[in-house]
């Protein structure tokens, strides 16, 4: 039996890390992830984990040390946010392409400039093509649950890929919620022991990691990598089901809310899904057939499942907490448009860029999105394909006190 505790998202993630008890953690502090490394340092200092903690001098070295440690043959974790993830960019790719099952909580924060410590998804969205599995968490409970499941998913023999577990900076990371923490033994049993493949430390069977790989083989290796992340979809589903059987909270690739009979639907990741659920209830109370889709897994992108759950809607509004500057729209919007097109779905889709740099997203704003969708459904006209929510339009005069 688990126990209910009041924890903020970062403490819940740190709890998961304590229970996972990785062999090596290499990490560097950055707001809003910092309290994860601080809490974990206390676990190390108090002997509550067996982990060797490498207090690196940068995120680039954090990921580099994780790669060395993982290739050596053991369970490895790190955690970061924003500029930290951007700083480790080069080796984020190396970790995935070397097929190392590293798990990394990413507490989402806006990228500079201007510097900003609050939540948006531009950090992890920028890494969406790096080859990592990406799971987004709505709240502290999901951050905890996803971190535990990530270990299993990453280490599956048919997958062997690193996993990023996202949670919203401050909104989730620093807000105290009621979280069910499972027993240490149960978590240990769920993740099982680490099974090394080709460990460097097996000195009697030497292996070469990271050779120069040219046009004669590089493409086959990339193909294998592409196939592995495709197989990860099944792994995410299976591990989510198993987690449900074990702990009573099942997970899938995505989660619908009042979606089956909905006429119009909003798609949104992470904590904003919680706000949107309230708006759906409100609108339903007023007889409006509103629904919500919250993708949990962004990489691999569950296009078939998303198409299946949205294909009969009149209009879909996608909410993107990051922009893809110069592209058609935000990353989530583009993926959904592409999936619809590929599956011959003609449902209308519009995009809403929201919440950049921690800008509050209110129920009123989400309701305004639903109103837009209803209007489009009625008129068949899309006025603007990409909209910005809660932004002051036009040139702004900044007034400061004299």
């Amino acid at each position: 039996m688990g126990r209910y505790v009041a924890l903020d998202g970062n403490s819940a993630t740190a709890e998961a890390m304590r229970q996972i008890n990785p062999d090596v953690v290499a990490a560097y502090p950055i707001t809003p992830q910092t309290s994860i490394v601080q809490t974990f340092s206390e676990f190390v200092a108090d002997g509550l984990v067996d982990t060797e903690f490498i207090t690196v001098e940068s995120e680039h070295s954090a990921m580099s040390a994780c790669i060395g440690a993982s290739a050596a043959g053991g369970r490895v974790m790190t955690a970061t946010s924003s500029a930290g993830l951007a700083f480790m960019w080069e080796v984020v790719y190396v970790a995935a392409s070397t097929r190392l099952p590293i798990v990394m909580p990413v507490v989402n924060r806006a990228l500079s400039a201007p510097i900003n410590i609050h939540c948006d998804h531009s950090d992890s969205m920028g890494a969406r093509d790096a080859g990592w599995i990406q799971l987004f968490s709505e709240n502290a409970q999901e951050a905890y649950d996803n971190t535990i499941q990530a270990v299993q998913i990453a280490e599956r023999e048919e997958v062997r890929l690193p996993v990023m577990v996202m949670s919203d900076g401050f909104i989730t990371s620093h807000a105290v919620e009621r979280v069910e923490i499972e027993e240490d033994e149960a978590v240990k049993r769920f993740i099982g022991p680490f099974r090394p493949t080709y460990p460097l430390l097996d000195i009697d069977n030497p292996v070469t990691y990271g050779p120069l790989d040219f046009y004669d083989f590089y493409m086959e290796h990339k193909r294998q990598q592409a196939e592995a992340i495709e197989r990860a979809k099944e792994a995410v589903i299976e591990v989510g089901e198993e987690f449900g059987k074990t702990f009573g909270r099942p997970y899938g690739l995505l989660e619908g809310y009042k979606l089956d009979d909905a006429e119009v639907a909003v798609v949104v990741l992470s904590s904003t899904a919680g706000t949107a659920r309230g708006v759906v209830d409100d609108l339903r109370g007023r007889g409006i057939k509103a629904g919500l889709l919250k993708p949990r897994c962004f990489r691999p992108f569950p296009s078939q499942e998303i198409v299946a759950s949205l294909r009969d809607k009149a209009v879909v509004g996608v909410m993107d907490r990051s922009d893809s500057f110069g592209a058609l729209g935000g990353p989530l919007f583009m993926e959904i448009c592409a999936a619809f097109q590929a599956h011959g779905v003609r449902t209308k889709v519009v995009d809403y860029i929201f919440g950049l740099g921690g800008r509050d997203t209110t129920p009123d704003q989400i309701e305004s999105v639903f109103r837009d969708l209803l209007q489009i459904a009625e008129t068949g006209e899309i006025e603007r394909l990409v909209n910005w929510l809660g932004v002051r339009e036009g040139k702004q005069e900044v007034v400061t006190a004299a």
Partner: protein
């Protein structure tokens, strides 16, 4: 018993870097690697930085390494190796792995060490990982086509410090990286050269035996970049040492010690003249550069003599 550092004994040991790799004929880098690995009797795990050594020894599906080896990226051989060493300690501490006297060695060029990798190196030294970091210093970014680095000597031609009409070669002196590393106060730091292999191998033994990080900076001629015939590699090393351009010394537990003092300190021209990268310095209008280079060699040599108590 450790293998005696005698040619006869050493020649019986299996080479850990196999022949047939694709480094240039006459390149000093594989000579250094073989000397380093022959000096170590224990099992070794190697992390290498991007550079000539890495691309020349592991073109998939081939590898010249008969020991566990990893290349991660250009600037992070030190941090990558620190991850491996830490995993070893973690697994042994937890009883998940039997303790074995294993050595952890990084190989990186001067670019991967003096410049882009200095942060990762410094972090590893400060954290005190038990590993040996070998910089094979060929004084430029050779793999990308001979660009200047923080290790390139004053006045030297490279493709990004060309011998131009207005700027005749590199306008700055080399970084004294060995001294920078020594300033970290780690257990063992040394400078070595492959033409004095016994000295180099002795230093490697001290390095892997140290209780903490060890660093050895080894001068590594690159005939492509230095512009000298392929059969004069070790002659270039000798001249670098006998001109006191590349002194052989060690810093053991913060004690500075000179390992070799040439009978006659040769003028720097002796080292410069055989190398095409310095050819332009012998034109009349550039002679002052040689003088300045000599003055800098003298300044550093005098300072070293003082530090080692030889002055």
């Amino acid at each position: 018993m450790a293998t005696a550092l005698k040619l006869k004994e050493l020649s019986k040991k299996e080479e850990r870097l196999a022949p047939g790799h694709r480094l240039c004929a006459g390149c000093a880098a594989p000579i250094i690697v073989r000397q380093v690995l022959l000096a170590i009797d224990e099992p070794v795990i190697v992390a290498a930085a991007t550079g000539c050594l890495e691309v020349g020894t592991t073109i998939y599906p081939y590898t010249a390494w008969r020991i566990p080896w990893i290349h991660n990226a250009f600037e992070n051989a030190a941090s990558t190796l620190s991850g491996i060493e830490t995993m070893y300690r973690s697994l042994v501490k937890q009883g998940k792995m039997k303790e074995r006297d294993m050595k952890f060695v990084a190989f990186a060029g001067d670019g991967g060490t003096y410049d882009i990798g200095i942060q990762a190196l410094s972090g590893v030294l400060e954290r005190g990982h038990r590993l040996l970091y070998i910089c094979y210093d060929n004084q430029a970014y050779m793999n990308t086509g001979i660009q200047r680095s923080g290790a390139t000597p004053y006045g030297a031609w490279t493709t990004t410090s060309p011998a131009g009409k207005v700027i005749p070669g590199k306008p700055q002196h080399r970084k004294d990286l060995t001294a920078i590393v020594a300033a970290h106060g780690i257990p063992y730091v040394a400078q070595a050269s492959p033409h004095r292999f016994r000295d180099l191998m002795q230093k490697v033994r001290k390095g892997v035996g140290a209780d903490g990080p060890a660093f050895i900076n080894v001068l590594s001629s690159c005939n492509r970049g230095w512009r000298h015939p392929t059969d004069t590699t070790l002659e270039m090393s000798r001249l670098a040492v006998d001109t006191c351009f590349w002194p052989l010394y060690e810093v053991e537990k913060r004690e500075w010690k000179l390992n070799y003092r040439p009978k006659e300190k040769l003028p720097i021209e002796e080292f410069l003249r055989p190398q095409g990268r310095f050819r332009h310095l012998f034109q009349e209008e550039n002679k002052h550069i040689i003088e300045e280079l000599q003055a800098e060699v003298d300044r550093r040599w005098e300072a070293l003599l003082k530090r080692t108590g030889e002055a």
